[in-house]
Symmetry: C2
Subunit: 419 residues, 2 copies
């Protein structure tokens, strides 16, 4: 009998009426013949309340106590969903992280899952019981203390549990009905994708962030957990709720996508990130080790640099341009100003009004010319490209922010993504 | 180094400001040289909210899930108090029932403590750490599931932990400053008692119920845990907070009381219970087994009968009078009406406007005539005594409810309890 993991977030369990609705989703899958494990978040707003209390009690709170306090939110919803399931005739019991156990390291507040023990959980499923797991939490076994996985950790819990149970699928119920070719608020012709490869989903993080935590996608990729993003808002008994393809987006490995398509799509989606900033260091003497002397101090300051472009002019001087999160912009400039004496650059320029637009698709591996077609299309619209980076399945363009929507719409049409 | 258990109820931990106040109480005792374990309830109102959600999800909720949900309330306050203690420089950590472990049976919702493992807890105290325990909860080890002890269970947790840790004292912080000779709202001259014997406290349950759960007193008696009822409302740093005798009432064994008094008090307090009802079965044929034919059916209906008086008249007929909780009055009458054919009584009478007034004191063991003095004093006030029962340390009178206050004041003066 196939096993299924279903994950519901905070808005889906915000009150008893919604918890009852979740129970009906679970009932549908049980009646369809699945063994079901459900992973739940805390009621929406609850985690913030608990975190607020910790901070009020002490700005320098012990993260182990924070975990004990905050993990209580999922404990409540796991118990309540088990009650609601029993009420409609579906045998169920709640499982706290320490009961499974879901073993983690001791990085309280942002712990990493080491191992999910599937033995007792699997036996419960085999006995015909639905397992309702408190998401977001685990236990550090040496100390015997509760840990939490950090914000959005319930997605990660769900994928880890699915891997341990060798589940056929991990369904992530959310307030959108899947992953789109791009943001539908920017491009009205954006289409919901039926399938996305794990690698693509990681690159589409800026689109997918609201849908799925990046860490959970990494974990799904490593353990090959087919992860299905679907809407929690549809009627649990509606016909389309029964047909998986119509209900959401499946994140799976490349082979499964290839097998289902006669001819693979070259481009899967267009992502964009507006919270990028650009810094250029101009007129640096072009000698070996100059890049290291810029980027090592930035790394030491925990500033993540993304795109890097270096252009050398004939006069022996070079310009170094890179992007970074806008939040780190001022701090990075301060770090570089201190280096003016050692690096001896002519000018430090910066701009926060820039956007990174990315064209993503596993089909790009076998298709040349994807980037060059974009150059032409963007140029035709008068959009200047400040920098370009490419990976095997992605091309990113740094452009002026005011052209974001125009660029996204242009590329969306160019690669045949319009519905 | 002497160990101390301190217990704080829901109003004492209702918000962060009050939790900080609790932390100051704990700090005072740590600085006085104690090793301290603290037991906390959930924030006031929180348990009711959680119970309400369970009932809303299903009127027939699984009590094991109820326990998982409801136990989260104490989890939150234990973590927050540990944070607040660390904030003021007192090393502390939270302990959930399953972490200690506090082992219970599997009577979910009203579990009984089987054993408190004092090993890890004791080691933590020896290392100089304050242990903050979530009250009201434990674990059923065979199933690995969370249990709760039933309403007011945190008092029981505190006493059980004190017994396991061989604590010098278990301090119960509450919204009154101790146990009084009688209800101060009825007798303005009521005095706070410095010491009460365990046996007396059990008999004074009707006075003490608001102060201390009966089960916790039984447990304290069995394990000889000196239990100190004191106010959570005083300033933690006030001079009287440091002097135990001035701050509350000590519940302890008889020997300790005897040792501290030159001449023992005969009567310790006057208790009264207004929620009693009386039923009389008149004109029953006086033959062997007649009492059994009345009381066995009542016991089968789970009706607890308290005082029983049987009076036989010369004509071979008997009257049976007994008291019971007012809540069971109508049900008991219905049970007895069904027996009219078999028991063949002449008349079934009942009255809910009755009160049981009790005179309590371990000194009564060695002093005769306590009851007879009361007869005279009550008669002088025109108070009719409907029934009397006595035990080694108690005399109870059943009277008309309208005379309650007069009777209590009369007895309070009679036995020299007025301040």
């Amino acid at each position: 009998m196939a096993r299924l993991v279903m994950k519901f977030g905070g808005t889906s369990v915000a009150n008893i009426e919604r918890i009852r609705n979740v129970a009906r989703h679970v009932k549908r899958e049980v009646e369809a013949g699945h063994q079901v494990a459900v992973v739940v978040s805390a009621m929406s707003g609850k985690t913030n309340e608990l975190v607020g209390w910790c901070k009020e009690a002490s700005p320098l709170y012990d993260p182990a106590e924070y975990d004990a306090v905050v993990a209580s939110g999922e404990q409540v919803t796991s118990g309540l969903l088990a009650v609601a399931l029993n009420e409609i005739g579906i045998p169920a019991r709640s499982w706290q992280g320490w009961q499974v156990p879901i073993r983690t390291d001791d990085a309280h507040g942002a712990a990493r899952i080491l191992d999910v023990d599937g033995a007792r959980l699997g036996a419960a499923l085999d006995s015909g019981q639905v397992a309702v797991l408190a998401g977001f939490q685990g236990i550090h076994e040496e100390s015997g203390r509760i840990t939490t996985l950090g914000r959005g950790g319930s997605d990660t819990s769900a994928v880890a549990v699915a891997a341990a149970l060798k589940a056929e699928r991990c369904d992530i119920y959310t307030d959108v009905d899947g992953v789109y070719t791009t943001d539908p608020r920017v491009v009205s012709k954006a289409r919901r994708l039926e399938k996305v490869a794990f690698e693509e989903m990681l690159e589409m993080a800026s689109l997918g962030a609201k849908v799925l935590q990046v860490r959970s996608v990494e974990l799904a990729m490593v353990h090959n957990v087919r992860t299905f993003v679907r809407s929690s808002l549809i009627d649990p008994d509606a016909p389309e709720a029964h047909v998986v393809e119509k209900a959401g987006t499946l994140i799976c490995d490349e082979e499964e996508i290839m097998a289902s398509q006669m001819e693979s799509q070259v481009v899967t989606g267009i992502a964009f990130a507006k919270d990028e900033a650009q810094i250029s260091i101009r007129g640096v003497e072009d000698k070996p080790g100059i890049a290291a002397s810029v980027f090592i101090p930035l790394a030491d300051a925990h500033i993540n640099v993304d795109m890097i472009v270096q252009t050398t002019s004939a006069d022996g001087f070079t310009d170094i341009t890179f992007t970074l999160p806008t939040a780190d912009f001022e701090r990075a400039k301060a770090v570089l100003e201190k280096l003016r004496e050692t690096i001896k650059f002519r000018e430090l320029q910066g701009d926060t009004e820039v956007t990174k637009v990315s064209v993503i698709g596993i089909g790009m591996r076998s298709h040349a010319g994807v980037a060059s077609r974009a150059f032409g299309a963007l140029a035709a619209k008068g959009i200047n490209i400040r920098a370009i980076t490419t990976s095997e399945i992605k091309v990113s363009f740094l452009i002026d922010s005011e052209y974001t929507e125009l660029a996204v719409r242009t590329l969306h049409s160019l690669y045949g993504l319009d519905s």
